[in-house]
């Protein structure tokens, strides 16, 4: 059936697989997307939302590079919020509530309209390897498909085991079967594998809830959006979420089921994420807290199904049901499906290169939960990078990687391949050294030129970014060049409790003061005239404001990042043998031999490698 040799085969069509397939195909690679069920492309297996703190920045980065997650997030959004708006601009984090079904549908439509992309529904049960190089895949029906590269994005499906109370059964997601064969083959090939755990809460019938007992949580008054392109528009109408709380009574009911909980009776052995604990874990670990927040999130514009965020659980379904019925507003709740925990195989990501290609098998890439991460955004960004690099490899072009000072995606991948992860890895802003540089507002400045260069981001995208940059730079320069007289600015300063001016001065200095916003500055006639004359939109104005107000910090981090890049430039030869470096500690030699860092900088981030070990390494790498 398959006679041609594909450039790229993507196995799995979740967030990682969909981005990988789209990127590879858009870059001109003949691509095949194989998944077990084509009805389930780009499923949101857990909460119906995209973005959030640090994650929203990642979606913006994906969009800036030319991925699809931002566009789909916009078209399927039912609510938009810019989180952390009261903090500095590096913390502003976009998040949408999504229409789960529309999200998947829009993704499928986008993929179907992507040139060079074929689809096939089957379970891939093995890889075809020749001389440590992947040359295709085998399916469970015995079909073989040839390919130059393969991207594995198996999510939670590899030997997935679902737990609900004392019952457990194989499955990759509720109602879908697990994938078998691949782990075993990879382990035979010499890969290390491990198990991880995650969980999801019950979905319930929204018509059975009493929202009057909950607190309404509406979206932003002025919603924004993810994509830097103008093909999507901000929401006009929005749906609200609701918030309610558990109680001591609920906790008591949950505790009754503890002995049948796979979390506590030892049936689940693998590690789940500390920042996404199940409800039983929360009441067990934080016993002094007598209530926990629950967020009731609609699953779409039209469906009555709602998602009970905060109630992730693997307790028996009767316990889940009884306990949830004691929650305010849930007295008459009807379940659509109970919550469950799932264990699955992953491959410690230290076995990967920065391109997400495995060190062991040439042409084989891993992306998403198979690498021990959690989250749609983390998965999607890895898929994008794997798809890009698989495509570049086929085209025999230089690999594409992002540094820690360029993107959260860079931080994510570098953390994974350098440090590995013991629990499902989620992005936090505090994982980034230079978060002031990695803002959601400038993801296009940072990444669109790069995305364009590799042939992924469109010319239109680049043009838009360049126009925005030029307009905002000019506006900043206007503040640097233009003075304001005390009589004009002092009333504004006075109103903001800011010290008054004695003589004319450049407006940049005044604007840079805390408490002085663009709205204040607009009261100065020349500023308002400039905005009107140049027809500046909100995005440009906001960009200029950020650059003026935070210039000191941005400069400081830029300088630090520049210093870092010097270390990034000192490359370590491939397959360097550290065991001969006797002046280095034994632990450092072992770790370095295992991880094989590409640069001195990466070496310094490996745990167990001390500054003195790096000094020694520096000496060997010479000048």
């Amino acid at each position: 059936m398959f006679n041609e040799v594909y450039d790229v085969i993507v196995v799995g069509a979740g967030h990682a697989g969909s981005e990988a397939a789209a990127a590879a195909a858009n870059m001109g690679s003949k691509t095949l997307l194989i998944t077990m069920n084509l009805q389930n492309i780009a499923q949101m297996s857990c909460n119906p939302a995209m973005g959030g703190i640090a994650k929203g920045q990642i979606v913006r980065e994906i969009d800036a590079l030319g991925g699809y997650s931002g566009i789909v997030s916009d078209t399927s959004a039912i609510q938009f919020k810019m989180l952390n708006k009261s903090k500095g601009p590096a913390m502003w984090s976009p998040r949408v509530q999504s229409d789960r079904m529309r999200f998947a549908e829009d993704w499928r439509m986008l993929l179907e309209n992507t040139p060079n992309l074929d689809f096939y529904q089957e379970m891939v049960s093995g890889l075809i390897i020749e001389n440590h190089k992947v040359v295709g895949v085998k399916t469970s029906l015995g079909i073989t498909v040839k390919a130059k590269t393969v991207v594995l994005t198996n999510g939670t499906f590899l030997n997935g085991l679902i737990h609900i109370g004392d019952k457990n059964f194989g499955g990759g997601r509720a109602g879908e079967r697990a994938a078998t064969g691949i782990t075993e083959q990879l382990v035979d090939l010499g890969f290390d594998s491990g198990r991880m755990k995650t969980g999801t809460p019950p979905r319930v019938d929204g018509r059975s809830l009493d929202y009057s007992k909950m607190v309404e949580q509406p979206g932003d008054d002025v919603p924004q959006k993810f994509s830097f392109l103008d093909i999507t528009k901000p929401l006009i109408e929005q749906r609200s979420c609701h918030m309610t709380y558990t109680s001591p009574e609920v906790h008591d009911l949950l505790r009754e089921g503890f002995e049948r909980s796979p979390m506590f009776n030892g049936r689940i052995k693998s590690l789940g994420p500390r920042y996404c604990p199940s409800i039983e874990d929360k009441i067990n670990r934080f016993a002094d807290k007598d209530r926990h927040q629950l967020f009731v999130e609609p699953e779409g514009w039209n469906t009555v199904e709602v998602y009970v965020n905060g109630f992730s659980t693997s307790l028996p379904e009767d316990v889940q049901f009884k306990a949830l019925r004691s929650v305010a507003g849930f007295e008459n709740v009807k379940f659509f499906r109970p919550g469950y925990a799932i264990e699955y195989d992953y491959f410690p990501p230290t076995q990967l290169q920065h391109t997400l290609e495995t060190k062991l098998i040439d042409g084989l890439y891993f992306a998403g939960q198979i690498n021990g991460t959690t989250g749609y955004e983390e998965a999607a960004s890895q898929g994008l990078m794997a798809g890009i690099n698989a495509s570049l490899k086929v085209q025999e072009k230089e690999a594409f990687t992002l540094s820690r000072s360029e993107a959260y995606i860079g931080v994510l991948i570098d953390d994974l391949i350098t440090k590995g992860t013991e629990e499902p890895y989620r992005m936090f802003t505090s994982r980034a050294e230079y978060r002031t540089l990695l803002r959601q507002d400038n993801a296009d400045f940072r990444l669109t030129p790069k995305g364009y260069k590799i042939g992924l981001a469109s010319e239109k995208r680049l043009k838009r970014m360049e126009e925005k940059q030029k307009a905002s730079d000019n506006f900043v320069q206007f503040f640097r060049d233009t003075s304001v007289k005390p009589e004009e600015i002092n009333p504004i300063l006075d109103a903001n409790d800011s010290s008054l001016m004695k003589q004319s001065d450049k407006m940049f200095k005044i604007f840079a003061r805390p408490n002085i916003t663009i709205d204040d500055m607009r009261k100065v006639e020349s500023v308002n005239d400039y905005i009107v004359d140049n027809n500046l939109d909100d995005e440009v104005i906001e960009q200029a404001e950020i650059q003026v107000k935070y210039s000191g910090y941005i400069e400081k981090e830029k300088n630090n990042a520049d210093k870092l890049s010097r270390l990034e430039n000192i490359k370590i030869p491939k397959d360097f043998d550290y065991s001969k470096l006797k002046s280095m500690s034994m632990e450092a030699r072992e770790k370095l031999n295992k991880i094989q860092p590409v640069t001195i900088s990466q070496a310094s981030r490996i745990s167990g490698v001390s500054p003195s070990d790096v000094s020694v390494l520096l000496v060997y790498m010479g000048r």
């Binding site: 903090k87 670990r285 505090s430 981030r605 500054p611 790096v614």
Partner: protein, 472 residues
């Protein structure tokens, strides 16, 4: 992640400083600066004897007489040598300041430049830079690597030794407080959506004030601490010819020239300053306390007790080769000292043990159980003695329960941490957003990390997950 700052410095040619001559007292000492601002920094703090002569406009490989000044205060008369890149040891701009040899002056000058923006050089860093700039042959790589590794180990050991007792626990506590502070800030940044109680600004202010208070005290303790300034007075009680000067030379490590003589006119007391493990010790020679009829020597005994009175440590040194038959007499003298100064740490040292046979050795150890064996000539027991001296510092035997910073590297780190903390305080006062304050907090944490070991972002997240119920 934090260690990256460390290497950035190396690559960045930031200006480093260190004593180039062995630490301790000598006739002169050489302080070396290397890096991009070396000439500028020294120039700004140098007053030539020739009016109006600016160091910054002088040629390479020239020497200039003048004074190191801190504002209006003159610190020392010095000779400054200029080596401009690439014709210097490191290949960068290098300044060598030849100053007078007192540890006090050395430290004052180094501290001045640390305040002006220099960084204390890491172990082997001058050599490393020389190598990286192509000043050393590639075949020397192994040697340089070994040097760095061993120097690091040595300096680490010394630092660890100095960190026992009050200092380390105080620093650890301070770091924990700061980590807490950082975690609280990160909590409200990364977990703004969570149902946890965020610290308010007053709590932050209190925490920062407390950190500033302790930091300031620690920094001041270095500035005023007698330890580095004057050295710890150690009285050496012993007859002439028991080997005092041989011992001092052994402590000074072989090849070093002998020692300054501070009160040199009358021969009754000679003071020698020696730095051991970065701590100054002032050795005071005394005549011994052997009972005698001689009037002059009786006066000598009185003087000896005066010196013991002024000292913080007493070393009783005797020549075991000629007193092995008179150990009773030695015991009596030891008892006298102990009886008179029961609180004063006393080290009893038998010198010239290379001249004893096994039986004599056994009898010595039986008669005086706490005796330490030494052969100043062969070097046997010298290391044990230096360890004993350092142990007295570390166990707090010489302190009044007050934590004193004694290590210049620690001082440097504390100073830099203090600067960053000041910025945090300013940020708090002006209502700065947490993500921006976090930049300064992270740098402060890095400087603490230089003293206590590494700190990583994972620490912050671990701290948050351990203390707060996070996650929907």
């Amino acid at each position: 992640m934090q260690s990256i700052y460390y290497f950035c410095g190396m690559i960045q040619n930031d200006t480093i400083i260190a004593l180039a001559t062995p630490s301790g007292a000598g006739a002169i000492a050489v302080i070396r600066l290397s890096g991009i601002d070396a000439v500028k920094l020294v120039s700004e703090n140098f007053q030539s004897v020739t009016d109006g002569k600016k160091l910054s406009s002088q040629k390479t490989h020239t020497i200039h007489l003048g004074h190191i000044v801190d504002g209006k205060k003159t610190m020392d008369e010095v000779l400054v040598s200029i080596f401009k890149n690439p014709h210097s040891y490191t290949g960068e701009d290098v300044i060598e300041i030849s100053c007078h040899g007192s540890p006090y002056i050395q430290q004052e000058i180094i501290q001045l430049f640390l305040r002006k923006g220099c960084r204390m050089a890491n172990a082997g860093e001058f050599t490393l830079r020389a190598f990286l700039n192509g000043k050393l042959d590639l075949s020397q790589a192994e040697a340089v690597a070994d040097l760095i590794a061993s120097d690091n180990e040595a300096s680490h050991q010394i630092a660890m030794q100095q960190m026992r007792g009050g200092f380390s626990s105080e620093i650890a506590k301070l770091r924990e407080e700061l980590l807490n502070f950082a975690s609280l800030i990160e909590l409200e940044l990364d977990f703004a959506e969570e149902d946890v109680e965020f610290a308010d600004r007053t709590q932050f202010s209190d925490l920062i004030d407390r950190i500033i208070f302790v930091l300031k005290r620690l920094i001041d303790s270095f500035a005023v601490g007698n330890v580095i300034k004057n050295g710890i007075p150690v009285a050496i009680v012993g007859e002439p010819n028991v080997g005092k000067s041989t011992l001092l030379n052994a402590l000074l490590n072989e090849e070093r020239a002998i020692v300054s003589e501070i009160a040199g006119t009358t021969r009754d007391t000679i003071e020698d300053e020696i730095s051991i493990g970065g701590i100054g010790f002032r050795f005071i020679d005394t005549a011994g306390i052997r009972e005698t009829q001689d009037v002059v020597e009786t006066i000598g005994i009185k003087k000896t007790f005066e010196k013991i009175e002024q000292s913080q440590v007493v070393i009783y040194l005797f020549d075991v080769s000629n007193s092995i038959e008179k150990l009773d007499q030695v015991s009596v003298e030891i008892w006298k000292i102990k009886n008179k100064y029961p609180q004063k740490p006393l080290l009893i040292i038998a010198n010239k043990i290379d001249k004893l046979d096994d039986n004599q050795l056994a009898s010595l150890q039986e008669t005086i159980p706490e005796v330490k064996l030494l052969s100043a000539k062969t070097g046997f027991g010298v290391e044990q003695l230096t360890n004993s001296l350092l142990n007295l510092i570390n166990t707090g035997a010489l302190r009044n329960n007050e934590t004193i910073v004694t290590n210049t590297r620690h001082y440097d780190a504390l100073l830099k941490a203090f600067e960053e903390i000041q910025k945090v305080k300013h940020g708090l006062d002006s209502g700065l957003s947490g993500d921006l304050m976090a930049i300064d907090v992270r740098e402060a944490l890095y400087y603490f990390g230089l003293i206590t070991g590494e700190v990583t972002n994972d620490d912050l997240l671990g701290n948050i997950f351990a203390n707060f119920c996070i996650g929907k």
